[in-house]
Symmetry: C2
Subunit: 589 residues, 2 copies
Amino acid sequence: MTYRAPLADIAAALKSAALPAAIDEGLFGDLTMADVDAVLAEAGRFAAEVIAPLNRVGDHYGTPFKDGTVTTPPGWKEAYNGWRSGGWNGLAAPVEWGGQALPQVVNAACIEMWHGASIAFSDGPMLTIGAIDALQAHGSDALKRRYLPKLVSGEWTGTMQLTEPQAGSDVGALRTRAERAADGTFRLKGQKIFITYGEHDLTDNIIHFVLARLPDAPPGTRGISLFLVPKFLVNADGSLGARNDIRAHSVEHKLGIHGSPTCTMMLGDQDGAVGYLVGAENGGMAAMFTMMNQARLAVGLQGVGVAECATQQALAYARERRQGRAAGMPATQSAPIIAHPDVRRMLLSMRALTAAARAVCYATAIAIDRSERATEAAARQTAQERASLLTPTAKAFSTDVGIEVTSLGVQVHGGMGYIEETGAAQLYRDARIAAIYEGTNGIQAIDLVTRKLPLGGGATVAAHIKDLRTTVDALEASNNPAFGLAPARLAEAIDSLARATGWLLGRLDKDAEAALAGATPYLRLFGFATGGCLLARQALAAARDGDEAAPRAALARFFAENFAVQAGGLERTIIESAPSVLGADAALA
Amino acid sequence: MTYRAPLADIAAALKSAALPAAIDEGLFGDLTMADVDAVLAEAGRFAAEVIAPLNRVGDHYGTPFKDGTVTTPPGWKEAYNGWRSGGWNGLAAPVEWGGQALPQVVNAACIEMWHGASIAFSDGPMLTIGAIDALQAHGSDALKRRYLPKLVSGEWTGTMQLTEPQAGSDVGALRTRAERAADGTFRLKGQKIFITYGEHDLTDNIIHFVLARLPDAPPGTRGISLFLVPKFLVNADGSLGARNDIRAHSVEHKLGIHGSPTCTMMLGDQDGAVGYLVGAENGGMAAMFTMMNQARLAVGLQGVGVAECATQQALAYARERRQGRAAGMPATQSAPIIAHPDVRRMLLSMRALTAAARAVCYATAIAIDRSERATEAAARQTAQERASLLTPTAKAFSTDVGIEVTSLGVQVHGGMGYIEETGAAQLYRDARIAAIYEGTNGIQAIDLVTRKLPLGGGATVAAHIKDLRTTVDALEASNNPAFGLAPARLAEAIDSLARATGWLLGRLDKDAEAALAGATPYLRLFGFATGGCLLARQALAAARDGDEAAPRAALARFFAENFAVQAGGLERTIIESAPSVLGADAALA
């Protein structure tokens, strides 16, 4: 699979996410944009040259499972070693533990590229990053000293073990038990399913982060604790000790990401898996959300990455494949299909949706940076709430985009798109998982409506909407005909978003079911309005700087006139259609 | 894969397609609705009990290719023999050739069920039906006598061979040559790709219908002729003669429909494949469209069938799977996920989209019936134009629905949906082809806008829109609160459709590129307005007859408030966004 790092698009998105301004503020020490550009160029090179060629290999070979061991596809181990020894795993991790403390938004751009090259390959490292965050935020000093350096270096990988057969979206229903041992450690028994990279041969140890329930824990999510459970116990000197009582039982046969082993894990088949408490007893949900928030953004970036790869492939095909005549062409000639208006619509949809999803993800990442680094506590708090507000849309909107864009990618190829050899079908299969894991997109929409809109009594979302309006005001003021109807369409989209937001906030206490019924269309409206304005911001910056002004304006315009224009219909669905959802028992009988 | 024939939904759709009225008019001789019900019940039984269990088998085994032969999956040959000896192949074929001359709309309902049970299994017979139509309409009496009885009985199957590597959507670019032989037959040489059931072991002969070019043919589509090319030559007494010089060269490895062999065919590797001209020299496109029109409706019914199967599976899972609590439930309990508003939205979307697509397809089929059987020539002509108008939407809208609904089916299953064992992923893979073959959905949209809207100088589409308005007027007059906002939303959708139609008709001569740029959103608008009104018609009939009134009203309402409501945004996209498509060179560079 050919993949080229989209460095110009990434740079435009970083600029509109105000990374240069944050650097100028000194948020990242003496980091310069030149440093950032160098990092991104090198990451892009590694993604395109080393990882991307492995993507088809992984799809073909999968991850054979035998006698409890998983064999990764040919070439993956070498590529992983090259990747981690290049320092990519700890890019945004603290210097204290061996990381490089680069901005989260720069790491986000790199994560997009790893996934653009291969979701299956990059799935494992993504979870290691979540594990690092959880351990750093909640772990004891002793645990940090023993595990963080090797997790940050990537010598060991991490897993996130939440799901059980009866506990998927409903994490509180999990049953894995953790008994207190005399030495202060714990013994875990239970079964976990859908564990990404739960077993593999890339590293000589795997550090599992497992949610389990203490014997005296209250029911539901308030009775869940987080445990660190190494595959091999780690001695005081850092050397590996005994094999722990946690094993892969099987590997799933999935629709896509065949190179990413999805394991069923058995804990405590013998005496119990030795585990170490991370954070407080019964405080597992907080620790889990630390892991999940980063992972949700990273999954959103999977959507961006796979959409980018599909777009590149479709564009290349559409420039090469000749069928039919363009307008005014003599009957004896044939045109590249990119000349046909309907194909152009598909390709522009792919580019615009991908760029919008990228912009939303990077806006989330820079908010995380500010939440960690802003000088004032109030600014950190505001940024933290902004990141919380944007995370569900970064995850769900971007992964929906991943599905839509890879589907268009198949379609642009016509019959060739349905043949596995072409590669478009693999992207379509791979992209589908991202709307499911790390909280289904429905869960994201519910999170947005019920937990994120109320942040700050509604002030967080109000501030976001105000920011969007500022961009549209600037767009209107620019009087640039290249923007077409974008100023009007975006202004209407923001109005729809504001009204729908107010309506939902008014329902949460007294008619929560009505609000829940509109959650998914609301998240889409949020994505269209936000993505559309962020693309407009990129276009304004490009026009101001005279840098790629025409393509940025064309994309912003296309998105506004073809996607943001759907805002009015979505607003009506949110505000009016709850009775059609809640009162339709007869149609679901 | 469990599949249950959706007989009640089919009956409602047949009723709103006015089949009972057509029967009362005497269009189908002494056929009664009781006959129709008996046929559908028996077809449903065969689909559910015999075909459906083979669908996973076909996905798993595929169609191994060795030494020019294709082996169909275990059990397929027996099932095919049972199917054809049950008379299903010739259900709507003329009595003269051994068929049963049942209404096309009844056959459409059966075709939906065959595909609901397994697209891969039913793909082959679907093409035989197209071959029968082409031969009957264009073939010489001698060819008909020799080939039609065995094609109608299903003892032989038919193929449709258009595509070549350089000639996909651009059929006129095909290069396969047909040389005149001294005996009045032809010798064909060339290569065809993507030939569905081009080779298989279900029958002892395969009758290929091949588009090729005579030596003196003019360029482009005006120089294409249709040839009948049997796998085995047929002697005067009907017995099989020599093996003809047409052979499968390979079978594709596809995203889905693994049980349907997609072949590359080589013609004339030795002396040339013996072919018989069907219709006039250089008149192949007309004959091809006879095959294609039926096949396009049948592909639309693939979308309906696979969507129905996915909906049934998701509903069953959502009733069984328990996660989380419903509103007001104590913390110790958990609810089936069908209780959650967001899951209800997914399930209702699946049901409503499926029902709308079914209604559009059946409306197309009854128009074909009237075009063949109405007493007055003018009525036949009107019906024929109505069928032509509706066919692209029947094909493209329904297959888009197939993709969307099977994707929702994966999503409702959560992580389980991504595991191949569950079966939801197979439906998602299988459904994807239908938007591509028999003319991509983009080609359908272009056909709708450039060839179908101008029919009768715009009178055909105007009459259709008027019919839709009549339904909405009745909906408004009913004052039934169960319809919610459906009357208003559907009236607006029709207004949008009317305005968009007028705008496009006004552009075709002077600015065709602008019309082409809006073709795909226009087809979607056409589908939403038409499907919404047809569901409303079903609901009105149900309310009048006191038969399933509540579920039909709920579905019609849901569709109007959640899908038809998008009409305004689509109208704007059609009318306003052409410059954003055509002027975006910079964003496609």
